[in-house]
Amino acid sequence: MSALGRVVRSGVGRRRVSTLVILLATMMAVAASVLGGSLLVASSAPFDDAFADQHGAHLSVEFDADRTTAARLEASADTAGVAAASGPFRTVSAASEFGPLLAVVGRAEPEGAVDDVTLTSGRWATGPGEIVMSADLGMRPVGEQLEFPDLPGAPALTIVGTARSVTGTADAWVAPSQVAALTPPGTAGGYQMLYRFTEADTAAQITEGRAAVTAGVPEGAVTGARSWLTAKKEAERDTALYVPFLVAFGLLGLAMSALIVGNVVSGTVSSGLRRIGVLKAVGFTPAQVVRAHVAQALVPSAVGAAFGLVVGHLLAVPLLSDTETAYRTSALAVEPWVDVAVVAGVLGVVAATAWASAWRGGRLRTVDAIAVGRTGPTGRGRRAVRLAGRLPLPRPVALGLARPFARPARTLGVGAAVVFGAAAVTFTLGLGSSVDEVIAAKEHSTADVVVEFTPPEHSAAGPAPAPAEGPPEEPQTGLPELPDPARVTAVLDAQPGTRAHYGIAATEASVSGVSGAVTVRAFRGDASFGDYQMISGRWIEGPGEAVVPPPFLAATGTQVGDTVTVNGRGGAARVRIVGEVFDTRDDGMALFVDARTLTTTEPDLRPDRHEVAVTAGTDVARYVDALNTELEPLGLTARPGGSEPGAGSDSSAALKALAALLTLTLVAVAALGVLNGVLLDTRERVRELGVHRALGMTPRQVVAMVVTSVVLTGLAGGALGVPLGVALHHEVIPAMGDSAGYHLPDSVITVYGAGELALLALGGVLIAVLGALLPAGWAARTRTATALRTE
């Protein structure tokens, strides 16, 4: 082995702590970068990527099986302009025990030329009695049964898997032979054809393609069609929320990785300057010295990078699974080029920083380089030591407090790690609070008691079951059973403990200038306690006024203060928009008005839901029981208020889980940065520590001194990191809202309290102390006799 090789080998082997720290730092950096990079890649165009990966259908067309044949549909695959086709698949709309009709498709296998359906759990349905559910429905877990009570024999199918189609071509899939059993008597069911076109970038091209593939079928045979552009629009409206968040975290992860690795390597090489002097003294050229130290840093880095890839992939599995849920896509995986780029990038940073540090050492005069390890500090920080010495603090604490001033560059490195860590924690906590605020603002769940209309067939058997999905109140269809609101009001007013209440009725109306129906929510009573978050303007105060969500304003080109005409079944009403409210239901195409506004347009409109606030000290459970007794004759049921079951959607949960995982990773990286800084400092000061120990400093005092040495840095890092995190939050959260077409109310953005911010700033100290504990323990355990012999 050459002299250089021996030097590298001995450097790696003898300097075990440095080697281990470089290995760990590289591992964490690679793991964090793999996560960050994967998130950035996944966020760039999640729908497009999933669509390409799964050969999504540009057009899915549903046919009436009574009016066409499978052979004729099969032939449509040969139409000019069709690049690929799958089908025909037998289809049926079947009502499950949960109520809504499920679009069930008979497919023998998930793969195909078009629309590769991706299994997210379990397996594909291969025979009778089995069903695969869409992962987006989340009805029941794999292994349980799903009943179809309205079908002859009430078949129950076992859920054997969940799957996801990028364009949502079905709610469930069964084996083709199963379709017949799910088809209601007297109906023929249908067929589904999935097409990819050679040109499908615009709606016109899709329309042209649709005309071509349906030209050969009889009129009326086409029962429905769905363009991939529609699916893309829907998907991107959801994913738009996540992109700014994931991009912010991805960039934070990459920046921290580069910082920590650079810091660790430069610190480690710098701490070996005396060794560089010795190497030069025995005849190594400066270039050889540089090569030796670069190699010395690269060996553990390469091992760390390998471990980091493994850890990164392991962490990416749940993370990308959450991202899949958030993006409603499938099969997100770490791209191989991300691995290559991350490893190359991190090793590049290692090589560059090692080269720069070793180059500096290589250029030192040999005698100076040798002296580096023996001479004491350069004199920096003495004033701090003197000042700290005057404080009424135990000497070890005072010495620790002054320590950061002795090595300002290292302190900056440690501080930067803390700043990033504190910023990440602040951002994540703020994000979690904002998500909670969004959920609360969406759900308006401040009522103590909710009174809802219960269909007669359920009222005898007890409380109505919770709806499987959807908002709490749906546009009513004029059910005659809805009680007279005056009677409900009388019951509520008479009930001891009632503080306030209001009723909500929902209907659909058209609004001039808007295509399609708009949901109108009419309030009867004082809804001021309803927690409707205003973005601008004010809440409705009487008839003729309306508040609307931002998408409504955008769609109608109106603003607060404008007047719009609402056309109902009974006529038209003009309403003035007095405020902008945060409400995401109905894609924001809704009007909130006083019920008296609709007296002429919807004379029969009655509330199907009442929200009640009780007086302080009222026992809600007893109140509900008593109220139910009074309400039963009216066909209404009361229940305690609060969030609806499943109010925090999968996406919200996924977002919070992502944030928690990423924050843990970033905090770990930050703590590692601190650990490295303190470790280098402790190694440098080992003789000094020995002196302290020889003079009678106890191990506990040593720990106190070392830990205290990062407290000021932690405080400063926290003090800088928290505003940085808040600033990031205030940039990212509104960007997330804007992407989804919403201006967010202040309550969603202003989520940090003064006390919380102070605690977060102290979190910087926590990160610093966590990072310093290990080297502090090492310092306390170092044998004094050994330390005193150390040059």
Partner: protein, 250 residues
């Protein structure tokens, strides 16, 4: 007989698989004695010093300092013992370069929790007594070797320890400074300070101590009263025993 300041009984210390650095050593040092531990490199001098200072533990045998067993003490207890009972002086001074002379000297008192005013007063007295009071606010890097060693001695004496251990205290000094430090140690002993000096410098041993313990390959091979004729080669016995010390004392 007064309580010995140091008492080693049948002490052996072995590092890894090598031969014992110190084997079966017994040694007693009485209050007011000045003892030189003499021997070549690798003879076990530093091991013996570390064991006495509670910086290391023996494999077998017992070590007692001022009546307190140190061989079975925990780290914190031995640190407190050093604080209270042992002052240490090193070859390379081991001053803290970012502390002024006064702050270096104050350090043991501050660790021991001595009241601030009392500590400052005693530090000033020591600096004056050792002739370095004009350097009180100077950093050690600006002092000569001899001056640094005086600061180190002042620091070692700060908590009025019954035992002063000096490890090659003149090893890094020029001849004049070395003699200066040697005189200072002798003066301290003359004032009643118990002194153990580890050195390979026979001149230093003769100038500031009145008893020499020789170590060879980890064994105590001689225990000699250097200021009178009563010396006894104990190579054949392998240990220096308490009755020899008693005899010397007589």
């Amino acid at each position: 007989m007064p309580t010995p300041v140091i008492e080693l009984q049948q002490v052996t210390r072995r590092y890894d698989d090598g031969p014992p650095a110190l084997r079966d050593a017994s040694l007693t040092v009485l209050p007011g004695e000045a003892v030189a531990i003499l021997g070549p490199s690798g003879s076990g001098k530093s091991t013996l010093l570390n064991l006495v200072a509670g910086l290391d533990r023996p494999d077998t045998g017992t070590v007692t300092v001022d009546g307190v067993r140190v061989d079975d003490m925990g780290e914190a207890a031995s640190a407190r013992l050093r604080r209270a009972k042992i002052g240490m002086v090193f070859q390379f001074f081991n001053l803290l370069d970012d502390l002024t002379v006064t702050d270096n000297v104050l350090l043991p008192a501050q660790l021991a929790g001595t009241p601030r005013a009392e500590a400052h007063r005693h530090a000033a007295e020591l600096l004056q007594a050792l002739g370095i009071d004009r350097h009180a606010h100077t950093y050690p890097g600006r002092l000569s070797g001899g001056e640094r060693q005086r600061v180190a001695i002042a620091r070692a004496l700060m908590n009025r320890p019954p035992l002063l251990l000096a490890d090659e205290p003149t090893g890094a000094l020029d001849t004049a400074s070395g003699q200066d430090v040697s005189r200072l140690l002798a003066d301290l002993n003359a004032d009643g300070q118990t002194l153990v000096v580890v050195t390979h410098d026979v001149g230093l041993a003769e100038s500031c101590t009145h008893r020499t313990v020789r170590l060879t390959d980890g064994r105590i091979t001689a225990d000699t009263a250097s200021r009178d004729t009563a010396s006894r080669d104990i190579a054949s016995h392998g240990t220096a025993s308490a009755d020899i010390v008693s005899e010397q004392a007589r």
